[in-house]
Structure formats: structure tokens, C-alpha cells
């Protein structure tokens, strides 16, 4: 029992039940300043991002232990602290790069950098790593395809310091897609030494070891328990991180995580529920950055007959208690998406939908629709995202009952949720929280509004949207047709309303005894910039 808390206890006298909550946070325990403890609710299941079955939380290993050619810059964030700036691309492993006039050939000059085992980083390593990223399939291959990188032939190592990519067609997403976690550079010499016939890309070896040139390397990993990073002192691609050792501890119970960050036994608590974020913000630094290009919305499945009727969809949109939901489910963290869009530009996305809670209008629309006397529908929510989905669903259930639509809430377990909502797309009425990595409206529409695409869980099909998205996606932002196309896309989406946006969720991170946290689009913890407070 540290000296400080004992004295504080004596001063306050016996703790009575009535005064339970008042003992607020205490200064961080006297930790050695070069070690940081971060607690996280999710479990890391592999050190190799390209491996089949690697889950999303494991991406942080690729971010913290490996370098990429380029990275995004940072800008001040609306919710405090810094966040990534999609518009600024900065050098990381590549000192400089040039794009040919027709936008097809990208040439990168590498900086003098060494891998963690001391051997120099060469263009050959970059080529091998890129070939691996496109050949192992699964999510990595799909993400590379979004940037136009599909086959190893596109990648050529001119000499030790120059690396060249040739595209099939020019695309504004090419360069940004090199800043996502997937194309990280691996020490190909060590990898090939551990490869075998059935495992040419050394997935087994990379699954348990990190052989990159990044800021940290994984010193110890006990799956389901904790992961320990050791700093790579001769990291060349950016400012040397402040902490020598970083411990990522997996703590499933939110209550325990909260207790630990309040007591200061952990310096960073990643992705905490909104309620904790609101209450902790009074006593420590809490960053609640609205997640770029990400919307919590209601999915109205066109396979469910009533939702084919636009009036019914509008009736539902007017019957949603937006304000109550935003306060109860998000505790005001993140950006509201209902009511009139005033201050932002025409093609800013996510944007306010123009709908607000107006029961009379809702009843009016329902009367006009073919289902005047209402109907019954099951409302599905995911077990893994209960903290925001459950309160939202309960409030929607209650308000829809007022206009005659009776709703029963159905909780679905993790594995089944993805199959039902995204693959089979059989959930009539459900909640959805997709966020695109690349921060452009057309990228969001590519995933969520095109027929048959994964996150289009409403089975929405609109011919004009189909063509518009295909045309606009590769188009440069400053292209004359770009803005009108996007504006048209937004108009259709807000008129047809297959998905009713509620609010732009925030990623809440609490820091007690640490600072300079940066929010990144991949929504994982980047420990490199963090410094002791």
C-alpha cells in the first residue's frame, strides 16, 4: 500500500457506504518513468498481420514494430490531442518519392535505415514484403487492391535504394493506401531463412517473431495475457519514442480496467466506454476523437417487405429519439448526425441528415405508406458492441412503439453477427458501425452503398449510385467532376435512406501519467508518439 494513499485514507477517516464513490483518482504510482502500461479489452492473436485469421487488435503490432514507405501527417483533433491528417502524406522509410506524369509509375528513394538485427533495409526487402502482402490473400489482399496493387509484377527493386510500383490505372487512393498498416516492410533475409515449401512466406515464424525496422520489437508475448514491447534504439524512420518498455495488458472486464486507470497502475486505457470517458475526463486527460469516415447507423434491409416502402423508411427516420440516444448511448462523445447541416461543406462526410425527431411527421409518413397500422420486426444487435447498441436499441424500441411499430430486441453472438448481418445480410432491422480507412466519401459508399459489397447490410441497390461510385472512386479530389458526383451521391443516400445515420462515434482513450496520444484511422493503439506526462 503506497505511502500516499495510506495517508489519504487516514485523513478521510473510515469509508462509509454512503460516501463510496468520492475517493477519486490518485496520482500515478511512482512507476519507473521509462515503462508504460496500457490496458486493453481485446486480445491479440498473432504478430503477423498477413496471416489468415489474424484479428483487428493484432494490427497494432504491425504499426508499432514495422515501418511502411510513407505515413499520414497529424493535425489537432476536435476531441482533444492529435489525429491523423489524411491530406498530408509524410515520408517514413522512403525519404522521397515521385509520380510519373500519367500517374502510373511511383518511384521511392529509401532512407539509410537498418532492421532490428542490424542488417540494412534494401529495396529487395520492400519488394518481398509487398509481394507477400498481395499473395497471402484474405483482408490484406483486398485492402491492397483498393489502392490498385494486385500482383507482384507491379513491384520492382531498381537498386538497393530505389523501389518502383507501376499501376494499371491512375488512382488517388494509391499513395494513401501505402500508409495503411498492411504494406509493412519485413527483413526478407531472415524470413526466407525460416520459410519452408508449404509455408513460403514464413507465416509460422512471423506469427511468433517480429523482424522489422520499426520503433519497437516484441520482447515477450503470452497470448490472452500480455504483450511487452522493447524500444529499438536505432530507429531511423521517426523521432525516438520516450518509453523504453511498453506493456499491453489484456483485461476483459471494463470495471477492472476503469479501476486500474483511476488508481494509476496503468497509464493508458484504450477504447473505453463513453460513460467512463465522460466521468474520467474530469480527473485525467481523455481523448474522444470522432472516428473519421465512420457512422453508427440503423440498417433497413430491403429484403424485409415494409422497408421497401420509402415512406416507411422516412417514418422510421422521423421517429428516432436522436438526442436521447446520443446522450444515453454515447454520453455526448462523438459528432451528432441529425438535424440541419449548417457549418460544413456540401461534400463533407459524415454529415447531418436533415431528419430529426418529429412523431407527427413520422405518423404522417406511416399513414401514407402501405403499412398504416404498423408492423412487427426483430431488432438485431451484436454481443460484442453492447455498450452502445443496447441502450440505442432500447430507446428506438420504445419510441417506435409510439407509432405502432413493435420491435423485439435480439442479441447475436460475435461469430454469428458477422455472418448474419454482413455475409448473408438477413437481418431485417439492425445497427451497424462501419468506418472506412481511407477518409473519402466515395470510399465509404464503395463499401456501404454498392450492391453486394460487405458492409451494404441493407441490400440496397441504386443504378445511379452503382455507376457514380465506380467513376468517382479513382478520381482525384481536385477533378472538376469529383465534387458534383459526390454531392449527387449524398443526395440519393439521404433521400432513399437505406441506412439512417445516428452519430459519428468517438474512440475514447484515457491517459493518466502519459500524454501526446494520437488517434489513427485503423483505431488501434500507436504507442510510438506517447510520452510521460
Amino acid at each position: 500500500m503506497t505511502e500516499i494513499s495510506r495517508r489519504r485514507l487516514l485523513q478521510t477517516g473510515a469509508v462509509t457506504a454512503a460516501s463510496l464513490p468520492f475517493l477519486r483518482a490518485l496520482p500515478a504510482h511512482a512507476q519507473s518513468s521509462d515503462v508504460m502500461v496500457a490496458v486493453n479489452g481485446q486480445t491479440i492473436n498473432s504478430l503477423d498481420l498477413h496471416r489468415t485469421g489474424t484479428n483487428r487488435p493484432s494490427y497494432q503490432v504491425a504499426i508499432n514494430c514495422y515501418d511502411r514507405l510513407v505515413s499520414f501527417g497529424t493535425k489537432p483533433s476536435m476531441g482533444g490531442g492529435l489525429e491523423f491528417d489524411y491530406s498530408k502524406v509524410e515520408p517514413e522509410l522512403a525519404e522521397s518519392w515521385s509520380v510519373s506524369d500519367d500517374g502510373l509509375v511511383l518511384t521511392f528513394i529509401l532512407r539509410d535505415a537498418t532492421f532490428q538485427d542490424g542488417s540494412p533495409v534494401t529495396a529487395a526487402d520492400v519488394k518481398w514484403s509487398f509481394d507477400r502482402a498481395v499473395s497471402l490473400g484474405g483482408f490484406p489482399a483486398v485492402q491492397m487492391k483498393a489502392g490498385g496493387f494486385t500482383s507482384p509484377e507491379q513491384f520492382v527493386a531498381i537498386d538497393d535504394k530505389t523501389f518502383q510500383i507501376t499501376l494499371d490505372a491512375p488512382s488517388k487512393l494509391a499513395i494513401p493506401d501505402l500508409a495503411v498498416p498492411i504494406p509493412f516492410v519485413i527483413n526478407s533475409k531472415v524470413a526466407m531463412a525460416n520459410a519452408t515449401e508449404e509455408d513460403p512466406w514464413a507465416t509460422e515464424y512471423l506469427h511468433l517473431n517480429t523482424i522489422g525496422s520499426g520503433a519497437y520489437k516484441v520482447a515477450r508475448w503470452s497470448p490472452g495475457e500480455q504483450l511487452v514491447y522493447e524500444r529499438n534504439d536505432d530507429w531511423a524512420s521517426g523521432p525516438l519514442p520516450a518509453y523504453k518498455r511498453v506493456v499491453i495488458r489484456e483485461v476483459p472486464s471494463a470495471a477492472t480496467r476503469r479501476a486500474v486507470i483511476e488508481r494509476g497502475d496503468a497509464q493508458v486505457s484504450f477504447n473505453i466506454p463513453s460513460k467512463d470517458a465522460l466521468e474520467l475526463s474530469e480527473m485525467m486527460e481523455v481523448n474522444s476523437t470522432p472516428i473519421a469516415n465512420c457512422i453508427n447507423c440503423i440498417g433497413l434491409n430491403t429484403k424485409f417487405e415494409p422497408f421497401q416502402d420509402p415512406d416507411v423508411r422516412k417514418a422510421v427516420a422521423y421517429a428516432i429519439p436522436y438526442e436521447a440516444i446520443f446522450q444515453t448511448a454515447a454520453y455526448g462523445r462523438g459528432a451528432p448526425l441529425w438535424g440541419e447541416e449548417t457549418e460544413r461543406s456540401d461534400i463533407a462526410w459524415p454529415r447531418k441528415t436533415g431528419y430529426m425527431e418529429d412523431l407527427d411527421k413520422a405518423k404522417e409518413h406511416l399513414a401514407k405508406s402501405g403499412f398504416a397500422d404498423g408492423f412487427e420486426v426483430p431488432f438485431s444487435i451484436s454481443l460484442n458492441q453492447l455498450d452502445w447498441m443496447e441502450p440505442t436499441a432500447l430507446l428506438i424500441q420504445e419510441s417506435l412503439a409510439k407509432i405502432g411499430i413493435t420491435v423485439t430486441i435480439d442479441k447475436i453472438a460475435g461469430a454469428d453477427w458477422r455472418t448474419a448481418s454482413l455475409v448473408e445480410k438477413r437481418l431485417a432491422f439492425h445497427l451497424e458501425g462501419f468506418g472506412g480507412w481511407l477518409d473519402t466519401p466515395d470510399y465509404y459508399f464503395f463499401w456501404a452503398y454498392k450492391d453486394g459489397h460487405l458492409f451494404n447490410s441493407s441490400n440496397y441497390r441504386n443504378e445511379e449510385i452503382e455507376t457514380l461510385v465506380d467513376v468517382t472512386l479513382p478520381m482525384e479530389v481536385d477533378h472538376p467532376d469529383y465534387e458534383p458526383n459526390v454531392k449527387r451521391m449524398l443526395e440519393i443516400a439521404l433521400e432513399d435512406l437505406p441506412r439512417i445515420p445516428l452519430w459519428q462515434p468517438a474512440l475514447n482513450v484515457a491517459l493518466n501519467g502519459a500524454t501526446d496520444y494520437e488517434f489513427w484511422f485503423h483505431r488501434q493503439l500507436d504507442v510510438r508518439p506517447i510520452k510521460p506526462a
Binding site: 471494463a254 444515453t328 441502450p391 420504445e398
Partner: protein, 285 residues
């Protein structure tokens, strides 16, 4: 031998109560629970499902147990939840009692092949980690109240079967069983009407234990998110959700449902001895 006339059932029950104060309290609490279960919804001051803007109010004059994260009155939800939890515990226990008794009687009385097959089957259920079995059933068939009851019933059956098997086995060759055979009873009647009723006293203790356990099991399932479907109020879910709010200071969300749950499970456990005395003929004077 005291020659007082044998007491009727009612006077015997009152006798058992007087003799053991703890059982008396237990039955009083049981009465209270039943009243909450039957008249709950009409007794409570607020609609348990209606949310309001007073979110997370500590206990005050208007809301005796405070309000939860959706502004619903915790007191009303706790009272109304009694009915559902009683249904879960009584349902699960009744199912496992019947199934366990039938299996136990067959294994205990006929023995031989029946006994080894049934015993191995029971071992299998016992070998299964109870929680995973319950989760498996609820996850596979959906988290409706019926599935929670079936899952709990399946887990409890071995307890009853073992008790019945032992009791039937000892009495298989007792004098009164042979006398019953002499009186022309078929094996089935002998087991059902003569042997089984005598196995009731030890079963009663098991019933009381399992009723408490059934509610706890539902609470456990809710904690992992597989319990009863929202927004129906149920102690298990309320404690499970409330538990995350303790650290942040809103202790009343979990403490009051937890307290009520404890009282109910407490009552069930204490009932055990009282029930056994009532059912045991030897206790009558």
C-alpha cells in the same frame, strides 16, 4: 409411545415452523417473494420499461432504489423481475426434478444394464463443464427464457438422479417393498408409489439448493451476454450490467438487484431443511 392423536398435515407444518425459527423466516420471505411475483406489476410505482431523462439518479424519495443508465426506476424493475426469476428457478428445478427422478428410479431399481448406461450418461453431463454446456445450448438455440431454463435443467438433472438412485437402491429389497410385491403390485407401481415417495426428504434439500443455483446460473449467463433478452427486467442481467458501474460510483444499479437476488437464493437455501422436515413422515408426532 406418546399416544396423542396423529396431527393433521397443517398442524404438523406449523409445528415444524415453530420448532426452527430460521425456517420460519425462510417461509415468510418465500411468501413475500410469491406476492412480488404474482402482484408485482400492479404494485410498483413506475413502469419498469419506461426510460426517462433522469439517468443514473442515486436512491432518493421518488426513486427508492435510484434509476439506471436509461433512467428506468430500479425499484420497479427489481420487483417485477421476481416473477421471471421465480419462473426460471421453479421451471428449471421442476424439469430436472422429474427427469432426475425417472432416471434415478430406473437406474436404482432395475440396475444392471439400465444402471450402467444411465450412470455413464449422467457422468457425461457431469464431466461437461457446466457453464460451457449452458452457453452452448443458449448460444445454439438463441437466448430466450425457455432456453435458459432448459440449459439449467439439463445441468441440474444429474444431482437429482444421483440422490434418487442411491435412495431407491437402499430400499430396493426393504421389507415393505417385498410386502408391496406380495400385495400384487407390479414393479412399476412398487417403484413409483412405494419406494420413490420415501426418497422425497433428501430430494427436498437438493431442490432448495438448485432453485438458488438456477437463478445464479441465469445471472452468470447474463454476465457473458447470453442471459435473458433485454429489456425484460431480470435480477441476473441487472446485476451483470450494474456490476460495471460500481467502480464508477453508481453502486445502486448492482447492489439492490444483487441484494434481492441474494435474499431470494438465501430463502431457497434455508427452505431446504424446513421442506425436508415437512415431507419426512418420521417428524410427525
Amino acid at each position: 409411545m406418546s399416544t396423542a392423536a396423529p396431527q393433521s398435515f397443517v398442524s404438523h407444518v406449523s409445528y415444524v415452523l415453530r420448532q426452527n425459527p430460521v425456517t420460519m423466516i425462510a417461509f415468510a420471505m418465500l411468501g413475500a417473494l410469491i406476492i412480488c411475483a404474482v402482484f408485482g406489476p400492479s404494485l410498483v410505482p413506475y413502469d419498469p420499461l419506461a426510460s426517462s431523462d433522469q439517468i443514473l439518479q442515486p436512491p432518493n424519495a421518488s426513486h427508492w432504489f435510484g434509476t439506471d443508465h436509461l433512467g428506468r426506476d430500479v425499484f420497479s424493475r427489481v420487483i417485477v423481475a421476481t416473477r421471471l426469476d421465480m419462473v426460471i428457478s421453479i421451471g428449471a428445478v421442476a424439469l430436472s426434478f422429474v427427469a432426475g427422478s425417472i432416471l434415478g428410479c430406473i437406474a436404482g431399481y432395475w440396475g444392471g444394464w439400465f444402471d450402467s448406461i444411465i450412470s455413464r450418461g449422467l457422468d457425461m453431463i457431469m464431466a461437461f463443464p457446466l457453464f460451457v454446456l449452458a452457453m452452448g445450448i443458449v448460444a445454439a438455440l438463441g437466448n430466450t427464457v425457455e432456453n435458459v431454463i432448459y440449459a439449467t435443467a439439463v445441468i441440474n438433472t444429474p444431482f437429482y438422479a444421483r440422490v434418487v438412485r442411491a435412495e431407491v437402491n437402499i430400499r430396493r429389497d426393504a421389507g415393505f417393498v417385498q410386502a408391496a410385491k406380495l400385495a400384487g403390485n407390479s414393479d412399476l407401481r412398487v417403484v413409483a408409489l412405494h419406494i420413490f415417495p420415501n426418497a422425497l426428504p433428501p430430494m427436498m434439500v437438493q431442490v432448495s439448493l438448485n432453485m438458488g443455483w438456477a437463478v445464479l446460473n441465469a445471472a452468470g449467463l447474463s454476465f457473458i451476454g447470453l442471459g435473458v433478452r433485454p429489456p425484460t427486467p431480470e435480477w441476473g442481467i441487472m446485476v451483470a450490467e450494474g456490476a460495471n458501474y460500481i467502480i464508477s460510483g453508481e453502486w445502486w444499479l448492482a447492489v439492490f438487484p444483487g441484494l434481492w437476488l441474494m435474499l431470494a437464493v438465501f430463502t431457497f437455501n434455508l427452505l431446504g431443511d424446513g421442506l425436508r422436515d415437512m415431507v419426512d413422515p418420521r417428524q410427525r408426532r
